[in-house]
Symmetry: C2
Subunit: 194 residues, 2 copies
């Protein structure tokens, strides 16, 4: 029932200010980069993509002036992925993770039902992918889940070499911080060519 | 910062069992009906639509055996709507509300930024609507937000007569409980005709 710390790094990161993060720890701010990018996309009327709230089960609640307050609760397992929304009429759904590894990303870092959800999104005509940051290499990849469905089904490691071959490197910019929709444009272009 | 009880009826309803609800209070189970319907759609590979978790801000956290536990927190305002997902490649986004009123639904029951979000979804090529249940009339409507954008912008009341005219009544069935995607089929059919 309880999630371990590693599954919920968001609460820990939320108070970190980008400016106070030394260069070597920039990978810690993947969620922050994505939130800023999504905000940029929204403000510029490009896309509506949001991070979903972390599901929480409140076990003890009190009322102060008709307001509900949580006195006791715990984090639940997310039923889907962290991010979803709409871009150019397409349903977008993805999970974003960081790793300190140097040569592969272990899919054991993502829950089996989340991976199943991502594959199911494709079956329903949506676009689903993983965003994976190798913190020590300072590299962030986007890989479509249908490009690695065999690896996903076995929940194996995704080798860095395979990410370079089948995925895309997301360039870091000033604004938007991680312009991952530029890569989604290529995915959509590829869909329309077929 | 704190939300009032009326905005967060979910926590209160969650423990209600459908079977224990007398007929007159069936309107109380709109969330339950939608969750069951969405589960049916998922299990039958029809659509992937989920209710988003209620956003919560944990203000005091403790760790037990490396597990994060909330000792203190409060409910935050949702940045978007309650339900979204993908159906036949379309991005679906909606808000569901109940009212005890007999002649109109007051849009003041929905936050202004949620209504703006629903209108924005249309601009990005998604399908957005409201599901409104009149508990005392035992009637549940689906109304596309672009059919009432003028009323939405002013956050006025939606008269029941207008819902009957511009919206659709969702039939209650055994399974799925509320087959609202049947109505979405008509909306999609209308889109493709243009």
């Amino acid at each position: 029932m309880f999630g371990d710390m590693m599954n919920y790094p968001n609460g820990i990161k939320r108070n970190n200010q980008k400016s106070s993060i030394p260069n070597g720890n920039r990978g810690m701010s993947l969620e922050n980069d994505l939130n800023l990018s999504n905000q940029y996309y929204r403000n510029n009327n490009i896309a509506l993509i949001y991070k979903k709230p972390t599901p929480i089960k409140a076990t003890k609640i009190s009322y102060i002036n008709n307001c509900k307050k949580i006195n006791d609760g715990f984090f639940e397992m997310a039923s889907t992925t962290d991010y979803n929304g709409v871009y150019l009429g397409y349903y977008i759904d993805f999970e974003a993770k960081m790793t300190n590894n140097l040569t592969s990303f272990p899919l054991s870092n993502i829950h089996a039902h989340q991976l199943e959800h991502l594959l199911a999104v494709n079956n329903h005509g949506g676009i689903s992918f993983l965003i994976i940051r190798f913190t020590k290499l300072n590299l962030t990849f986007l890989i479509e889940t249908n490009k690695i469905s065999d690896i996903i089904k076995d929940r194996k490691n995704i080798p860095l070499s395979l990410l370079k071959e089948r995925g895309f490197i997301i360039q870091e910019k000033y604004e938007p911080r991680l312009d991952y929709l530029k890569i989604v444009d290529q995915i959509i272009g590829g869909k329309n060519e077929i």
